[in-house]
Symmetry: C2
Subunit: 327 residues, 2 copies
DNA sequence: CTGTTAGCGCATTCAA
DNA sequence: TTGAATGCGCTAACAG
């Protein structure tokens, strides 16, 4: 069903059809009606590809890939990206890693100008999968050409949090780490967060437990396990806020006083952390900064017509939000 | 930067460039290298529009419009839509209503085959804005041609919840309603939820407060206001779970026993409702059903080549999740 | 006001 | 193995 069919049906030229469909001038009302009716009768709809091919106004598209839309951390980034993208005239396409085959990435790459997101696959492989498309990595900073990054400088925040906990009397530090690597690599590997945490606490480390899932219930289970294995822990860093919410809940179920017996800290700065009891102390990540810097990079790339340019790197920081869960 | 530039740079014809770029056969390794190098040097990237125009493999795209990505209700739907879309080979583009001009919808419509979402604008206007694109309304059921819908049948759930509250001794019912209409229409108009609720509670209505925002803090403020104005209320329906989270928090701050003095119920069924204390009773909406039924409709429309077909309507139900906040 | 001409950038025929 | 044609569906620039 093309523009020519409509033109034939209405007995006009295809240019007239274009005029009618796009509310343009230089067309009489009766003709427009006739064309529109014909189009409607035939169920005609202009091909968005042909249209975008011929109109030189390039609408850039950005593909967002995140682990899961079940984690507010990612959807917050998506929200910020969304409003920023709308302002800058970008289109946003999304894809999630969970429960989706790898060909989904191929499909996505065929529709966008740049891919930004959190990836767990090796970067060389990633670069290949994207078919040479520029990539903005929100997870780690790389040196591969064509792979840019927005990096979260979390280490100072963790150091600051540990210091604040010490000031309040914490001496036995513990952590619940995420088991991402278990799924992607097949074997557990300590996350950078754990490494920074262990460095910060030094010999005051009571123990670490690796969670199966980075969800509320995953955090709840891991926290309970942590208390069983290391009952002397008096301060716990949860890998992220979602898991920290589970920890707070778990503590309540177990009758463990927070922050009296054990202090809990999360990472991310989710809004919902303020709504639980006790409110969650958290190392808040500047998600808005991530979104805007990712868009900055995207615009630089667009400026260069998405040619391969030297890797661009940006950094965002954290902010310690001290609330009742850490005393 | 087109395929011809690369062909010239590499000293080959443009078909050879196509062969190299797409990993096709019938091209010698050295030639491929030369072409790839030239492409890289020039920063060439195939136009996704031209490619999609010429390859007959139609990748359908669905545009999702929601009020806000700050509300997990919407992101849950997006998550379900995302996985379903990936399975069925659909692409997902997103746009949020909040803080975005109306031209964002136009932009979106230019890139997709069907628009699905929650709209607050009048439907005739909506239909116009989408330029004749088929619309799947997730909010209300309409009769306009080209506007299909997935409708949440909430009334029975509200009736059931009120009945269960009565069984447990509740006699003074109150509600916090959302003020959506204040923003879109300029004046407040009771939502259907409120109307169903009032019908269900009959003369046991203690009072209703309209919240400024459908957020956690908006719910917290409105709930506090409700208790001040109607201190005798013993059961409160919050417009949605996000606001209900605020109510639970607010009750805690005010030292009001939940469910002892007042029972709280939300609507949506957010996962985080289980993580607060007391866990939130909620009328859970089948969000997964919404997503899959929306995709069903989209596929029917695709089958008809997105011609205007008779409005398709689907319905999803609710499930009462009884937890401690309602006793 | 309407129709004709000429591309947009690419992949899919063919022929060499 | 490569190159020359042809057309995807549409809009922009002209012409009538």
């Amino acid at each position: 069903m093309t523009i020519l069919d409509v033109a034939a049906e209405a007995g006009v030229s295809r240019q007239t059809v274009t005029r009618a469909m796009n509310d343009m001038n230089d067309i009489s009302a009766p003709t427009r009606r006739r064309v529109l009716d014909a189009a409607d009768r035939l169920g005609y709809r202009p091909s968005r590809f042909a249209r975008n091919l011929v109109t030189r106004t390039k609408t850039n598209a950005l593909g967002l890939v995140v682990s899961s839309f079940r984690n507010p951390y990612y959807t917050d980034i998506a929200a910020d990206l969304l409003s920023g993208a709308a302002e800058r005239g970008w289109q946003l396409l999304m894809s999630a890693d969970d429960g989706v085959g790898p060909d989904a990435l191929d499909k996505l790459c065929a529709q966008v100008d740049v891919v930004v997101g959190h990836f767990h696959a090796p970067e060389a492989e990633l670069r290949e999968a994207c078919g040479g498309l520029p990539v903005v990595n929100l997870e780690t900073v790389s040196t591969l050409p064509g792979v840019h990054s927005v990096h979260v400088d979390l280490e100072p925040g963790i150091g600051e949090a540990v210091g604040a906990l010490r000031e309040r009397g914490a001496r036995r530090f513990a952590m619940v780490d995420a088991g991402y690597s278990l799924q992607s690599l097949g074997a557990y590997e300590p996350t950078p967060r754990r490494q920074w945490f262990e460095r910060a606490v030094g010999d005051q480390l009571a123990g670490v437990v690796v969670a199966d899932e980075d969800t509320i219930s995953g955090g709840a289970h891991a926290f309970a396990e942590l208390l069983r294995r290391h009952p002397d822990a008096d301060a716990v860093l949860m890998f992220n806020d979602l898991m920290a919410l589970g920890a707070v809940q778990s503590a309540h179920v177990l009758g463990v006083d927070v922050p009296g017996r054990v202090r809990i800290i999360g990472v991310d700065g989710l809004a919902v952390g303020e709504a639980v009891n006790p409110p969650l102390t958290t190392i808040s990540i500047d998600r808005q900064g991530i979104a805007s810097k990712a868009l900055d990079i995207a615009e630089i790339l667009a400026e260069a017509d998405f040619a391969t340019v030297a890797p661009i790197h940006r950094t965002v920081g954290t902010q310690l939000l001290w609330r009742a869960s850490a005393g």
